[in-house]
Point group: D2
Chain length 247, copies 4
């Protein structure tokens, strides 16, 4: 039985994590802490692992406090600077504890990104589509950016030629952008939530990798997996893919 | 039994039409004419209908010659000017004959365009994706342009508001363009031929209309349908959709 | 401004309808009635239209009471018998009022069904896929059944031959069934809600019609459309498609 | 420059391989052998690698002859028995040569199968769809069978529970079958060639892996990759995935 503390327990993600932990057969929710609650061993109530879904200003302090209290941490809060990451790495190494920071806990989204990197070298062409609800402010999405950069790096690693493209007449004028040579198309549609599709092509064939995240509950399998993964590990881990068995 | 003459019979489309006519149980191929062959009643060999897949410079002359010979015509050649169309309309009306000119004979492509116009008024959001082989010179494709214009006109007809879109950060830099307010995304991928997808969204739901044309043989059901359709009709018909029963 | 009463206002659908009516710029929610509330002119509070999402035992009585009170009705409750429908038809005709009963208010689902009937005659092959959450008890779904029957009837109407299928070795053993000659495949997948895909094929081409209903909020555009549609109409109307402009 | 001999050079696959080898910048086609041609060092004309797309009765003999001639072999011919495979393994080991036998050279199909095995443990639900032309005799396809078995083995390896499925009413009557607990749906549609889609689901999310093989030319990147791969290797290799870098 893994004892879990949730930091940011009254936020939308925090509440969802609390419920997922409560329903997991191998976990027990021992602490719900939110803004205003001090992160002390007493308040952490014997937790083995803390899960942090708070705000950028609070997250780093929370992690250090948890390390001081001797417990491992899973962080879903975004907005980490390189400096903050390095401070946490040093602290985790020194303490012999483990901290996992991930920008995305949706299993399907993480797998699409990993599979896309593996497939990249075997196809002449690749384009990325990301589809989101129309309330989203930025385009292309951060996940699509990261996917495209991963694909581009994998192609470069094996010195692939530029993709075939005879286009002569094009306004280059739709939502999206070319990221490191990989076209990313951004679609905004009422009814959708967060979706990504990677299309790979060779003469005569196509490979499609698609992730659909319909709801924030989609992050829970990844969060629970991360909680189980940090328990026996040490040091800083960046990304859920680092604790998946994909080889 | 419908007697059919094929004009441009040695081109790639013409040869495919000759084969399709030969295999149709209700048709007979009575004449194969190509560049250099005069379009005379004798050469047309008793045809009821001529199918023209030639070149822009030849097509109008062929149509007038067929009308003079008293037979109806199905035209798949592109590049018609408004003036040429009006001259053919006048000639067909006067002769009491029928000419059908269509930019696209792929049944699935024509149906996607028609269904998209019908659906347009019932959805808050709509975006168009067109996917083609990387040897294509223009983007977005002519079909996607026409689809987007049809959708935009249908939305305007019922005075719909602009689509919801909160995007603030966007390079607007991918292959494609916004056509009459409808975003069109152009994908070029080795292995593909000609494909289009229209995504409609409302809160909580999505409608997807997709056409895949894998091969020029996909035009044959539409061409044969047009041949059967012009036989009892009179006047000029623009577009395969005009002879489909979609109501 | 259309005054609307919601019957079954405390159920999950009823609450969603109340919110949708409240947010519609051209409607006003004037009455929320639930189990135990009598359907009287006084309780209906001047409503022009009542929307009924209750239970099969209550729904017919509600409709007659509304007709007696002189107002039109939109019914989303399922489980209507042919006899009950005929009683309502007679009452509506006599009263010169309008009642619309529909099994499905999701615009995208209704359009896929209608477009599938229109497309059916133009393609050699067609198969239906329906994808639902794994808590669903029946397979194939009622909507997929209705879609397949509509397609089969349209094919029969124009005397189409059986679909090409050379299969010799097949256990015929997956979730789903053949409905009037149309194969329906039933997929049950955690994470999904209610989705349907119709695949049409001809040599060289494919047409795909797909509906995704992610949430019950997807029924609201259809419900509001029906409310607006019954206002000026008379008699019994079966199905949302009857009040859509698809021709 | 890799010198390549093609065995079965006048068959449909053989001719396609000859063309692909001729167009590859790092290969030279040095021998085209077909039925009736003896496999001798002289006829192999200095080839480094032979590619065999012949018939089951001829293939094993061809491989032994090539090994005797001191050259490595890539085999795409199907119908190998376990005994024949073991005889080739022994011969290859003894000769210090390499033989690669693969049932499928389509890169996208092989990757979908490999990615599906990796993803299987992370999702509650999974179903497989295979879509083929209607001239196919067997259902479900061999590739879909293999995909489902790989997924089932990966789930069993980590002791996953049965998939959630509340279905009570189901005729279990559509083309396809349940393979080791994994539902496989078989679709036959005019216009299609060979396609497979694997759907994975968790609460709130979906992962889709799809392969489209439009044409036999889709096997060429895999065949050329295999030719390059056997050159420096020894022993028997079963499956293209064994020489892809997917870890």
């Amino acid at each position: 039985m893994i004892s879990v503390a949730v930091l940011g327990s009254e936020g939308r993600m925090g509440r969802t994590v609390c419920q997922a932990v409560s329903e997991a057969p191998d976990m027990e929710l021992v602490a719900r802490l939110d803004a205003g609650d001090e992160i002390t061993p007493e308040h952490l109530n014997g937790a083995d692992v803390a899960v942090d879904f708070t705000v950028p200003q609070a997250s780093e302090g929370n992690v250090h406090a948890c390390l001081d209290a001797g417990i491992n941490v899973v962080v879903g809060t975004t907005g980490w600077t390189d400096e903050a990451i390095e401070r946490v790495r040093a602290h985790a190494d020194e303490a012999g504890q483990c901290v996992l920071i991930a920008p995305n806990f949706a299993m399907s989204a993480v797998l699409v990104m990993e599979f896309a990197k593996k497939a990249a070298r075997y196809f002449d062409s690749v384009e990325v589509l990301e589809m989101h609800h129309p309330r989203k402010l930025d385009a292309p999405s951060g996940t699509a950016h990261a996917t495209a950069r991963g694909i581009a790096a994998a192609r470069k690693h094996v010195h692939m030629a530029a993709m075939p493209d005879a286009t002569q007449t094009d306004a280059l004028g739709t939502r999206g952008g070319v990221v490191d040579g990989v076209p990313v198309h951004a679609i905004r549609l009422a009814g959708l939530n967060a979706h990504e599709e990677v299309l790979f092509g060779n003469p005569g064939e196509q490979l499609v990798l698609r992730t659909d995240c319909f709801d924030r509950v989609s992050f829970m399998p990844g969060v629970l997996h991360a909680v189980r993964a940090v328990l026996p590990r040490r040091g800083l881990i960046l990304g859920l893919d680092q604790v998946l068995d994909l080889d």
